[in-house]
Structure formats: structure tokens, C-alpha cells
């Protein structure tokens, strides 16, 4: 160590020594009661267990299939219960005019396939 570096070390030490502290020597209040209360609360209310990934995947797939099934049923077309008999017959006439049914959706394609062999209707 050179004399210069020794001088610098001393001056650095003196610098740090003279910095005033803003912390008290000890805690103003004992921390343990508050910590114990938090620990007790943890014990009463256990943290929720994480859902296994495979269950999340199965739930997602089931939801997706249900959604697809509902969409398929909705798009395959069902009779509107508010229509009168004449209106239903009129709609049938329109459909017969544009036979086969335009395959505008998966349900429509399926319905068209079902009715393809029903030419004599």
C-alpha cells in the first residue's frame, strides 16, 4: 500500500465516520406481536392451492367443445317459434327454391348434407 493510498483510506474512513445516521439504535416498538398476528392469519386462511395445469387444459378443452357445440346447434337453424304456420310454409318454399341450402356455416353444410337425400320432400 502506498502512502498516498493510506492517506486516501484514512480520509475515506473519516468521511464515512462523519456521516450522520438517521436510524435509531433500536426499534421503537417490538415487531414480534405484529409478525405473530400475520403468521396466525396465514394459518387460519391457507393460501389457495394452485390448480394443476392438466385440469386447466381439460377445463379449457371442455369449454371450447361446449362452445362449438352450441354454435353448431345455433347455426344449423331451428324453427322460429314466433312464426305462424303460413310464414313457416312460405320460408320452406323459399328454401326449396334455393335447394340445396347455402352452406354459409358448418351447421348449414351439415344440414345441407342431411337434406341432400331428401329430394322427394
Amino acid at each position: 500500500m502506498t502512502p498516498d493510498s493510506t492517506h486516501q483510506d484514512r480520509s475515506a474512513d473519516a468521511f464515512w465516520e462523519n456521516l450522520p445516521d438517521r436510524a435509531p439504535a433500536s426499534t421503537p416498538v417490538d415487531l414480534w406481536p405484529g409478525v405473530r398476528a400475520r403468521i396466525a392469519a396465514d394459518r387460519i386462511v391457507p393460501l389457495p392451492a394452485r390448480e394443476p395445469r392438466w385440469r386447466i387444459a381439460v377445463s379449457f378443452a371442455a369449454g371450447l367443445l361446449t362452445g362449438l357445440a352450441l354454435w353448431f346447434l345455433a347455426s344449423s337453424g331451428t324453427a322460429d317459434p314466433t312464426l305462424s304456420a303460413e310464414e313457416i310454409i312460405a320460408q320452406d318454399a323459399v328454401f326449396e327454391t334455393f335447394d340445396p341450402i347455402p352452406p354459409t356455416s358448418i351447421g348449414g353444410i351439415y344440414f345441407a348434407t342431411l337434406t341432400t337425400g331428401d329430394e322427394g320432400r
Binding site: 475515506a12 465516520e17 462523519n18 450522520p20 445516521d21 438517521r22 436510524a23 439504535a25 426499534t27 400475520r38
Partner: protein
């Protein structure tokens, strides 16, 4: 009782043993938190440190001292707190009305206290790592090697941080018009 035995008991769920450990370490945790985040939030941070320590005690392998582990948690939680507080301040400055500074507490009118506040305003403005190194090395009186272990750095890196911190503080003190801290002007209580 020996600290190792207390740790083993606490790991097994003995709350009284953990309470004894809290009693032994709370002063250093609280002091470090006060120096990093200020007195207003230090109590909450210190409690959080011990709650986290209780939850993660099983992961404490004992390769380092418990105090080192607790210091590291204190530093991490304090710095996270400061970062979120800074984000909140930025958000308020950007979107809300300006926040007026609170009036000084009566005791800050005292000369020493005022001097301490001014010095700490400068220390608070240091970059995070420099400030942490100063707090652990200068105020907690830990060696550069211990400070390095807590901060996850090399000893050389800590010495470099301390050197840069000292330069920055000296410059700030000169620019602030109150020179370097004078001997015998210690406003805070020493350990």
C-alpha cells in the same frame, strides 16, 4: 439458546423460537429499513421481512448467516417499495395534482436534525446500489465482503460502488453549499 437450534425449532413450526429470532434481529432489520426507505415505512417493511422469513424458513439452508439472509430480504423489500413508491409519484405527477411536501416535524427544526435530513436527502438521491452499499458498509458496519454477499456482488464491485458514492456525496455536499459533513455534527444516534 444457540441460533442454529432456534432456527431448527422454528423450521419445525415453533413460533416461540421464531419470536426469539425476531427479537434478536429486529433492530438491524429495522435500522436498515429506516436508512433505505425512511422512518415512515420502515416498520411495515420490517414486519414484512419477518413474515416472509417465516414463510420461507424451510428454504434457508444455513450456508450464510441468518443475519445475511435477513439483510438481503430487507434490502430487496425496501428497494421494491421505493420503486413502487417512485412509480406512484411519477403517476401522480403525470396525471394528478402536484403533491405538496408535508410540513417538517417539530424536531426537524433542531439544527442537528436539519443537518441530518439534508445529508440524507443527498444519500437518498444516490443510485440504488450505491445507497445500499453505503447503508450496509458504513452504517451497519459490515465488511465489504459481507456487503458483497448480501448484494450478490463481488467485493471489488462493492468497493467501487463505495468509492463512487463517496465522490457523488462530496460533489453534492459542495454543490449544496454545506461542504462535507463536519466532525462532531452527528445528528443520528450511533449503533
Amino acid at each position: 439458546m444457540d441460533e442454529g437450534a432456534l432456527i431448527e425449532l422454528a423450521r419445525g413450526g415453533d413460533e416461540e423460537a421464531f419470536g426469539e429470532l425476531v427479537g434478536r434481529h429486529q433492530d438491524r432489520v429495522y435500522r436498515t429499513a429506516v436508512r433505505l426507505v425512511g422512518a415512515d415505512d420502515a416498520f411495515d417493511i420490517s414486519q414484512e421481512v419477518f413474515v416472509k422469513a417465516w414463510r420461507e424458513l424451510k428454504r434457508f439452508r444455513g450456508s450464510a448467516a441468518l443475519s445475511t439472509w435477513l439483510y438481503r430480504m430487507t434490502v430487496n423489500l425496501s428497494l421494491n417499495h421505493l420503486r413502487s413508491a417512485r412509480r406512484e409519484t411519477d403517476r401522480r405527477e403525470r396525471y394528478g395534482p402536484g403533491v405538496s411536501s408535508s410540513p417538517p416535524a417539530p424536531d426537524t427544526a433542531l439544527e442537528d436534525s436539519e443537518f441530518t435530513d439534508r445529508v440524507w436527502a443527498v444519500i437518498d438521491a444516490l443510485p440504488e446500489r450505491q445507497r445500499t452499499a453505503v447503508v450496509l458498509h458504513r452504517f451497519e458496519e459490515l465488511s465489504a465482503a459481507e456487503t458483497a454477499t448480501i448484494m450478490g456482488l463481488s467485493t471489488g464491485a462493492v468497493e467501487s460502488l463505495l468509492h463512487r458514492a463517496r465522490q457523488a456525496l462530496l460533489e453534492a455536499f459542495r454543490a449544496g453549499g454545506f461542504g462535507s459533513p463536519e466532525p462532531g455534527r452527528e445528528g443520528g444516534e450511533k449503533k
